[in-house]
């Protein structure tokens, strides 16, 4: 029986140096807190730049989560609950939203509740976080919005592109995920 994962300790995650007028994370890297409206402005004028910002933000979150688990190897060897706890904690501290995992057979799906920005930015954040935490080169594809939740498929970049096209064609994400596993079977 697997051990219960350690709870997430958000203490000393961010340090505000009022004398120097700087904020940093637990690893000592300087952080900037941006209003969400600025993200909308960047997305309207420079959507690719917003995607690049999201990837960097996610890498930082993933690294911090992996640090909690002993590195990438510890992430890969840990359970889903052990991985998702620090990962979700870090993404929450960054203000991205609340993240949890869904397994659709052999497909890994991340669900983000109360996302701060559009699909492209969030997907980039998740890809950066998981990639940095696992040490894998992977991509994400938006499966659709269901209420206040957004689902993202996590897989290779080619599979992600194919899933995105199928979903954009009108297919249901369930059928798309089913089709992925039937093709690979």
């Amino acid at each position: 029986m697997a051990e219960a994962p350690a709870p997430f300790d958000p203490g000393s995650a961010v340090t505000f140096d009022l004398g120097r007028g700087a904020a940093s994370d637990a690893r000592g890297a300087r952080v900037v807190f941006l209003p969400s409206a600025s993200l909308e402005a960047i997305e309207s004028s420079h959507p690719d730049a917003l995607v690049r910002i999201g990837e960097e933000l996610g890498r930082a979150c993933g690294a911090r989560a992996a640090a909690r688990l002993g590195g990438s190897s510890g992430v890969l060897g840990a359970s889903l609950e052990a991985v998702i706890t620090p990962l979700a904690g870090e993404l929450a501290l960054a203000g991205i939203g609340a993240v949890h995992i869904e397994r659709w057979g052999r497909a890994l799906v991340l669900v983000v509740d109360n996302p701060v920005a559009g699909d492209a930015f969030i997907g980039a954040v998740l890809a950066g976080a998981l990639g940095a935490a696992s040490g894998r080169d992977l991509g994400t594809a938006c499966l659709g919005v269901e209420g206040a939740s957004v689902r993202y498929f996590v897989g290779s970049r080619e599979t992600g592109a194919r899933v995105a096209s199928q979903v954009a064609a009108g297919e249901s994400f369930a059928a798309v995920l089913q089709g992925l596993q039937g093709r690979s079977a």
């Binding site: 992430v75 890969l76 060897g77 840990a78 359970s79 889903l80 052990a82 991985v83 998702i84 995992i101 397994r103 057979g105 052999r106 497909a107 890994l108 998981l130 696992s134 894998r136 992977l138 498929f153 996590v154 897989g155 290779s156 599979t159 992925l180 596993q181 690979s184």
Partner: protein, 355 residues
């Protein structure tokens, strides 16, 4: 004859015509000419002696146009009787004009014509039918006792018979006077050897006897009613009875020789003018009730063992169904379907990356 005398003669003729028009019209058409001889007027149109004529009771015509006395050699006299006099109304058979020329057509727009749907019952006693009824209306009992006088034809044709009649009585009169009453039956006697007698059969009251053309050998009316059941009747017929009517414009010529008796033909006569004989053609020579002629086809015989009665009845399918249970366990399950249960996040991530 001078022109004046001719005019006087024509005037007297006109008066006579008017008198006759005022008289009641006889029932029989062909009796009308005979009435000329039996008229109460003793005057004869074939007599040149004006003085021998009886005085005319009819009023002298006063509305006749005066004829000018002209030289008879240059201008022919006017014929007064070429058109019906205006006063004659009872004896004129021309149909009334549909429209009155003197009345403008607009007057008819407002005229309401009453059309009554009442049924008027008229009791007609056969014995009380007067002679002056319309032609054709005649008691049936008188038809059989009546015969057509053969003398009237030649009497109208020429003066030969009239001269002979004058010799008999001095006036154009028959042996027995013509009686217009219902009870008396005038009989006409032809001059022996002179008048050509045409024996005509007794015709129904409604029929008008037509003079037989000289070129036709066909009798005007059959002497006896045809017997359709008698096969021999067809042998003497000049033309088959059941042949289609001749085409319009053509007359069926009476052959001089009776056609040979037909062999039992199986083909109906061709249709005429596109009309198809349906049900009305019967093979001549066959008695009534004989089966209709076929077209040379024989009815197929039923195969052995074939019951026509069964065929006549309606055929219904026989259904045989299998008895099967409504539900049954017809399967067995072996093993457990494989399930993916990742042991770590890495395994799941790798599985997802492999999709």
């Amino acid at each position: 004859m001078s022109a004046k005398e001719h005019v006087e003669r024509l005037e007297q003729l006109l008066a006579r015509v008017k008198a006759r028009a005022a008289e009641p019209r006889p029932a029989r058409v062909f009796a009308a000419p005979a009435s000329a001889f039996a008229a109460p007027e003793p005057a004869s149109r074939y007599t040149d002696d004006v003085a021998a004529r009886a005085p005319v009771t009819a009023p002298p015509p006063q509305d006749l146009p005066e004829l000018e006395e002209v030289d008879g050699d240059s201008i022919p006299p006017e014929t007064v009787a070429s058109s019906p006099p205006e006063e004659v109304q009872a004896g004129w058979s021309s149909p009334p004009p549909t429209t009155n020329a003197s009345t403008p057509p607009e007057m008819y727009d407002d005229v309401d014509v009453e059309v009554s749907a009442e049924v008027v019952e008229v009791d007609i006693d056969v014995d009380d039918v007067p002679r002056h009824a319309e032609s054709g209306v005649e008691p049936v009992a008188e038809v059989a006792a009546r015969s057509v006088p053969p003398v009237e034809l030649d009497a109208i044709a020429g003066p030969a018979l009239g001269d002979e009649l004058e010799e008999v009585d001095g006036e154009a009169r028959l042996t027995e006077p013509h009686d217009a009453s219902v009870d008396s039956e005038p009989t006409f006697q032809a001059a022996a050897g002179e008048a050509t007698a045409i024996e005509a059969p007794v015709l129904p009251a409604n029929e008008i006897e037509e003079p037989a053309p000289s070129s036709s050998r066909r009798p005007i009316a059959p002497s006896t009613a045809p017997n359709y059941d008698d096969v021999s009747a067809y042998a003497e017929e000049s033309s088959p009875r059941h042949t289609p009517p001749p085409e319009s414009g053509k007359q069926v010529a009476a052959p001089s020789v009776a056609p040979p008796r037909r062999a039992p033909s199986t083909v109906p006569p061709p249709s005429v003018e596109g009309h198809t004989l349906i049900g009305g053609w019967r093979e001549p020579g066959l008695p009534r009730g004989a089966p209709p002629a076929t077209l040379g086809l024989e009815a197929p015989t039923s195969p052995p063992g074939f019951d026509a009665a069964e065929v006549a009845t309606r055929v219904a399918p026989e259904v045989t169904r299998a008895v099967l249970p409504a539900t049954a366990k017809a399967h067995t399950v072996q093993g457990v379907a494989p399930m993916f249960v990742p042991k770590s996040f890495g395994e799941l991530l790798d599985a997802s990356l492999d999709l």
